[in-house]
Subunit: 377 residues, 2 copies
């Protein structure tokens, strides 16, 4: 009796009370990585510091010149494009903050067992490529189509289903110009690194990372809604296993701070010395521009407004810098930042639990100790 590919998967589950991170979660945590929070200092995240999550292996593409992108399905004239063909279309560069939909998962209780992110699954880059709308216009996509389906070269098994990674966008989003979805070939002015989709990926400004299909091979216009695994099974907000759930789409508001002072190696507790400390960080929302950021040093009991950096034209989809001057006095602090956006979105203080552990943007507090280095009494 041979096995089938789906037999190697186990069902989704929640960790039990007090259950530590398991070997399976650790195997994901050692290969994927977040943004070390001190790297929030950079307007544009260097590639090796930008968060990375890949469901399966990173495809090996030794010869990007041989890569083909096809545009097919409900189109008048299917396209079969090389990278050189893509470069002959108008190029756009957009600064975009991308966050993993599972960011914050490991802080939920009970903890959904999957990639165990704390709060660091984020990054911002300048992505350059062809607006997807131009390719769909060139192909003559049927305006009555429902979805546009994107297929990557990454292949694996997940919860019993063998698959190429696939996601879809509604046609209106795919052809929209605010935000303009990009078929990107460059990150921060250089060809995409392997782990970010070399040679081609989708960039969907404002949406969580699962929409930004990497190693993009096929764009298929469909007259029926896409019901593939990553659309209809994974990436849904559900409280019970049998409900259909809401799809995960745009990024909920979040602010993070560059942890002040310096860390203890093991606990990552921060140490500062008495005196003025400039707190600063970034805030973002895919739902509407960030409207304000508040800072608490007492675990959320009280809040003070941060100063937002000026709005920069053309930077709607990138995080916004903020700062707050604090006077540190000896003691212990639970320091957190909280973002609000222009449609009334705000980070909750209490978790909004769901089975997949998606969009958990609850405020996270960092332990900061202001030491008293004076002589012993």
């Amino acid at each position: 009796m041979g096995q089938r590919p789906g037999d190697v998967s186990s069902p989704a589950r929640q960790a039990g009370p007090g259950e530590g991170i398991g070997a399976d979660e650790l195997a994901l945590a050692t290969r994927n990585h977040g943004l070390p929070l001190e790297a929030l200092r950079y307007d544009v995240t260097p590639p090796g510091l930008h968060y990375v999550l890949t469901h399966y292996d990173i495809p090996y593409v030794p010869n990007p010149g041989a890569w083909r992108l096809t545009v097919d399905g409900r189109v008048r004239a299917p396209l079969d494009l090389s990278l050189a063909d893509l470069h002959s279309f108008p190029q756009v560069t957009t600064r975009v903050t991308v966050e993993c939909a599972g960011n914050g998962r490991a802080l939920l209780s009970p903890r959904p067992v999957s990639q165990p992110w704390l709060v660091e699954a984020v990054g911002t880059a300048d992505w350059t490529g062809v607006p997807l709308g131009l390719l769909l216009a060139e192909a003559g996509a049927d305006p009555a189509a429902a979805d546009v389906v994107f297929t990557g070269a990454d292949h694996g098994v997940e919860r019993g289903v063998e698959q190429d990674y696939q996601r879809a966008l509604p046609l209106a989003v795919a052809v929209g110009d605010d935000p303009a979805v990009l078929v990107a070939t460059a990150m921060n002015g250089a060809p995409l690194p392997p782990q970010h989709g070399r040679p081609l990926r989708l960039i969907v400004p404002g949406w969580y990372g699962m929409a930004h299909v990497k190693w993009l091979r096929t764009v298929t216009v469909s007259d029926v809604p896409f019901t593939g695994f990553q659309q209809a099974v994974a990436y849904r907000i559900r409280r019970t296993a049998d409900e259909e759930g809401e799809p995960v789409t745009r990024i909920a508001p979040r602010a993070l701070l560059v942890p002040p002072g310096f860390p203890d190696f093991m606990s990552r507790t921060r140490v500062v010395r008495p005196g003025p400390v400039r707190l600063f960080g970034r805030a973002w929302s895919g739902q509407a521009p960030v409207s304000s950021v508040e800072i608490s040093t007492d675990g959320g009991a009280s809040w003070e407004p941060a100063v937002l950096a000026p709005v920069v034209a053309g930077r709607r989809w990138a995080w916004r810098a903020w700062r707050h001057d604090w006077h540190a006095a000896p003691g212990e602090y639970a320091m957190g930042a909280r973002a609000h956006d222009g449609v009334g979105g705000a980070q909750p203080l209490e978790q909004r639990w769901n089975r997949g552990g998606f969009a958990n943007n609850a405020v996270r507090f960092v332990r900061v100790v202001c030491v008293d280095d004076g002589p012993s009494p």
Copy 2:
């Protein structure tokens, strides 16, 4: 009663029986990262795929032109060098495999609580810089000195000790020419990325990563052996807390394979289909050149020799490729590779436990399932 910096640390400890990975270990695992094993395909690891471990924060260096490197202590003429000064010395490029001394730690039982690496804390790069021996000759280092101490700009608290990261090498190693220690300014032909030591780091071919001091600021020639935290307290092979222990120095032999087939997302179990499968990977040792690699598909019960790639002149300090042709038949396999080196070193099958979790090069087996995709009976 104020706190002191050392108060934020807790003592080193071992995880209890069945204790899962804790919040402190997870916080390290989400910011540091290993080499996704499929990236063993690359002769030279792209920077974002090369393993990264930083004890404290990654220093922010917006203006490398202002960086200074000083060479002082027991020298005739101290040096105070800019990057431009360093570039005026002869430059050397060496391909070097670097592995974290804690690689394999999370597989030990009991598990030392620290950065919880499985087996992926490794990478290979072309490092370009000035041979350290030239700088020490220029400064006129006292040939009777004991150690050369290297100080980085990364600052934190560890086990109660506030410190800049510091390590030393014996003078004979520091001025040696096989291997030649480098003060490196470039990785794979580009300036060092922030997480790899921008703008300057030490490269000590053949030694575990703790010796390759990043964000290097000071080189101090000392007539007494260095007894700083990272030399005399951390990075020692000890079975009990009160023994002095042996220092961690050169990299023990290890072979790893590119996991065959494709993965299950959560378990990372590999799926292959029946037929010929080329197994391949890399092997390295800092103690002597790799002399052979063996492959087991049955958890170490039997072994077959792999074919080593030819020796390449000048590549002594880089990993060596190997391959082995396997015929997959439906069933389950525990697949592992085992390296031997020219001084009789070999990977053990049983762990050699030590309190810090260093140099655990025991063979690791990957679960591989060869599926039978034929029709159901």
